[in-house]
């Protein structure tokens, strides 16, 4: 019986997603069209990719408030490379590496300075954004080869390319979390850092690795964002950290660490994506969308807390 209720409660976000999906299909005739679904997929790809990285970070008991700035900085540097004539794959790779470096810097400080990750990444939120503005002089990068738009807007075998990309990232992160030593250590550190240290786990190294992976995925999201807009905006991604964190939390991740899953995060991100798409289709104002999404975050976490309290 216990197991049963645990399963149903884990399914709750999923059921909400389905209900939302059905409700939107009924209320808006346009919702179920291939065009709209593809557009939802493209819109949510950026948040989804960031949220996947955030999942690992949150599982390990950390948090990364600087992802919005990392997204901006990596998209900017990546497009600047394209502007200088580097081939598209190289530019994308540079964007990813900028993300990795930013994440690694976060991890390094969290591990070595022993300051709460909230504070470290609050600081780097400002630093990375400032760097992007300094490098670009505050001006966006426009001269980008047209082929770059494929990343965000192209189709492969009739399906948006970002969907393929997201599936690959999701599988990779899932495998990392559930089937590798790194993932196991992330869970252990997130659940009990002291016990992990006493068990001989190289805690500092894995904290850095976790933030670096999160940064890499954010870098990728930054390139997708740049490709969709076909500009490298130094101000891109402002406020995105809240979306990424919200997706993880709606999907059952705990800000106390030790809990979270790829499936949960994707469901969380899609719930938010559908809410915003549905609001658009139903002509609900942007202002109300923010209220609705905020309420959903609180509701989801409240339900999750109730579940845990009952289980305890």
């Amino acid at each position: 019986m216990k197991l049963n209720s645990r399963v149903t409660q884990k399914l709750l976000p999923f059921v909400s997603l389905i209900v939302l999906f059905i409700a939107l299909s009924i209320t808006s005739p346009y919702f179920l069209t291939a065009n709209n679904l593809a557009s939802v997929a493209r819109q949510t790809a950026v948040f989804n990719t960031m949220a996947l990285g955030m999942t690992i970070v949150i599982v390990s008991g950390g948090i990364d408030l600087s992802v919005g700035s990392i997204l901006g900085l990596s998209g900017l540097v990546g497009t600047m490379a394209l502007e200088r004539g580097y081939p598209i794959p190289v530019g994308v790779l540079i964007g990813l590496l900028v993300g990795t470096a930013c994440g690694f810097a976060n991890g390094l400080m969290v591990a070595k300075l022993r300051i709460p990750p909230f504070v470290v990444t609050l600081g780097t939120l400002g630093i990375f954004r400032g760097l992007a503005l300094i490098i670009s002089n505050g001006l966006p990068v426009h001269r980008i080869p047209p082929g770059f738009s494929f990343l965000g807007e192209g189709n492969l075998l009739g399906v948006p390319f970002v969907v393929w990309m997201l599936v690959i990232c999701a599988v990779a992160v899932h495998v990392i979390l559930e089937h590798t030593r790194l993932g196991r250590y992330a869970f252990a550190i997130g659940s009990n850092k002291i016990a992990s240290l006493y068990a001989g786990i190289p805690v500092d190294f894995h904290v850095m690795a976790v933030y670096a992976i999160g940064g890499t995925l954010t870098g990728l999201a930054g390139m997708v964002e740049a490709s969709r807009l076909m500009t490298g905006q130094p101000t891109a991604g402002q406020g995105y950290e809240l979306q990424a964190i919200a997706a993880v939390v709606i999907g059952g991740g705990s800000l106390n660490g030790g809990e979270g899953s790829v499936v949960g995060t994707l469901i969380g991100a899609f719930i938010m994506g559908l809410l915003s798409n549905g609001a658009d289709l139903l002509n609900i104002s942007n202002y109300w969308q923010q209220v609705i999404i905020g309420a959903v975050i609180i509701l989801a976490v409240t339900l999750d807390e109730l579940r845990k309290r009952r289980a305890a």
């Binding site: 089937h179 030593r181 790194l182 252990a188 009990n192 016990a195 006493y198 001989g200 190289p202 809990e259």
Partner: protein, 495 residues
């Protein structure tokens, strides 16, 4: 009788917590409530304190039947509970904590700080507690916090106080302090229900005793009329002569040797000792003597200022717990929830935590192997759990301790540092933990057993080191007496 409970029955969902709980407490007596974890003590006390409602049975207060629907109703008639784990606001003062939620408010809801402090002072003086009404609670010792809890409970004239393991985290002197206070409260004609797991303190404090087992009251009577081993027998429901029995082997080669170890920060001075294979070395001492600090230093948590550690004869540089683990040292900490277990993770993940290498290849986990090996170990240690996928935090204290031990077995550790291995676990589980320690010794492990429970040390350990003020003050053979240990633990340097 002040309080009488007759045939109290309580079910949680499908689980019967109490079948027939009977208890009567008179004014001016200390009534001990004993029983293993899960025997129904907490449920019974929660019913008395109004936290949960009974399903059936009668409760009488001064001879009249009564019903409680909330803790505040219990408080209103004069029943108060002193909590085991501090439920205090750490950043607030003693006075503020005593009156938290019950402040007299003046106009506009202002809280008059000075008046609260004044009232708290009067209360503290009245009982002669060694407390300063204005000090912050997080600066107090565990005993001090316990006193604040007691003040909270008595300040509005309770006539029945429930103590739930008040001394489980206290040192010996602090325990004596709590005893004095309990006796004082008793002299003021209060009724006291006192729950404890420490068999050594029963007779210092109790008048009558009630034993619960499997939700039934199995014994009640004067404490003076029943020997301790009979009480234990009531608690566990079987003969317990075997609990402390173990064969004492001839120790083998030295596994861990500590020479002249000093740690300034934790005031450890020139400590030298040897742990041999197949031997359980006990370690006694008052709280604050440096026993936990010694374990921390040997395990690489606190940096060593001077001295050497030899493992199987080779000098070992241990600077981090990771170094220690690699050298085959295991630390079973005194607070397993804080530093021993990842409570939200499954048992299997906890068991394999110190040796994930063993279940992985090229960085990828073999989950089937993990579950198989964890289940095998769990079976070997008689771990009571639904499956190895169950979160460790849902296990009882004794079973959690088994998971911690399993973690080190999975690592093939050879040197075990047990810091208060039986803290907070019931007698049945204690026996099993001792058995595991004996088995470890038999298979060649070297074991250091730090314990504040002298009877346990004297029964289980092969020899006993005694620490005092950061030094080892002496060594005793296993057939020593508690007095001999205490002499070494407290004696003056001059003596």
């Amino acid at each position: 009788m002040l309080l009488e409970l007759q045939d109290i029955h309580k079910k949680y969902g499908g689980v019967t917590a109490l079948r027939s709980g009977n208890l009567s407490v008179a004014a001016g007596e200390v009534h001990l409530l004993l029983g293993e974890n899960g025997a129904g003590k907490s449920t019974l006390m929660k019913i008395v304190a109004g936290v949960v409602e009974r399903d059936s049975g009668r409760m009488l207060w001064n001879g009249n039947e009564f019903f409680l629907r909330s803790p505040s109703e219990a408080a209103a008639i004069g029943i108060a509970m002193v909590n085991q784990e501090s439920l205090l606001a750490p950043h607030m003062s003693v006075a503020e904590n005593i009156f938290l939620g019950r402040e007299d408010r003046g106009a506009f809801g202002w809280v008059n700080r000075r008046r609260i402090v004044h009232k708290a002072r009067r209360l503290i003086e009245q009982y002669g507690f060694p407390l300063n009404a204005e000090s912050r609670v997080d600066r107090l010792s565990p005993a001090g916090r316990q006193l604040v809890e007691i003040c909270r409970a008595i300040h509005h004239g309770s006539s029945l106080l429930i103590f739930d393991e008040p001394t489980s985290s206290l040192s010996d002197t602090e325990t004596q302090q709590v005893f004095r206070i309990v006796r004082d409260l008793k002299a003021r004609n209060m009724g006291i229900i006192y729950i404890t797991h420490r068999m050594d303190e029963l007779r210092a404090i109790g008048d009558r005793v009630t034993v619960l087992r499997d939700g039934n009251t199995v014994h009640t009577g004067n404490l003076a009329d029943i020997p301790t081993d009979r009480l234990i027998q009531h608690m566990v429901g079987r003969e317990v002569s075997a609990i402390y029995e173990r064969e004492h082997l001839i120790p083998g080669a030295p596994a861990l040797e500590v020479r002249d170890l000093s740690v300034r920060r934790s005031r450890l001075k020139n400590i030298s000792f040897v742990l041999r294979k197949g031997e359980i070395t006990g370690m006694a001492g008052l709280i604050g003597a440096g026993r936990t600090e010694l374990c921390r230093a040997v395990f690489g948590i606190d940096p060593i200022d001077s001295g050497t550690i030899l493992i199987k004869g080779d000098a070992a540089r241990i600077r981090t717990p990771r170094d220690a683990v690699k050298r085959g040292i295991a630390l079973v900490t005194e607070d397993r929830q804080i530093s021993g277990l990842a409570l939200r993770l499954p048992i299997a993940a906890n068991v394999t935590m110190a040796n994930v290498e063993r279940i992985s290849r090229f960085g990828f986990l073999d989950l089937k192997k993990q579950n198989r090996l964890a289940a095998e170990l769990g079976h070997k240690l008689r771990l009571k759990s639904a499956s190895t996928a169950q979160p460790a935090g849902t296990l009882s204290g004794g079973n959690q301790q088994k998971v911690v031990i399993a973690k080190w077995l999975f690592r093939d550790a050879e040197i075990f540092l047990f810091d208060e291995p039986t803290r907070g676990i019931d007698i049945g589980a204690k026996a099993e933990v001792f058995e595991l320690m004996s088995e470890l010794a038999r298979s060649g492990a070297a074991i250091l057993m730090v314990s504040s429970e002298l009877p346990e040390l004297l029964h289980v350990a092969d020899r006993i080191l005694v620490m005092r003020q950061g030094r080892i003050s002496g060594e005793l053979p296993r057939n020593s007496t508690q007095e001999q240990i205490m002499n070494l633990a407290v004696m003056d340097s001059a003596a």
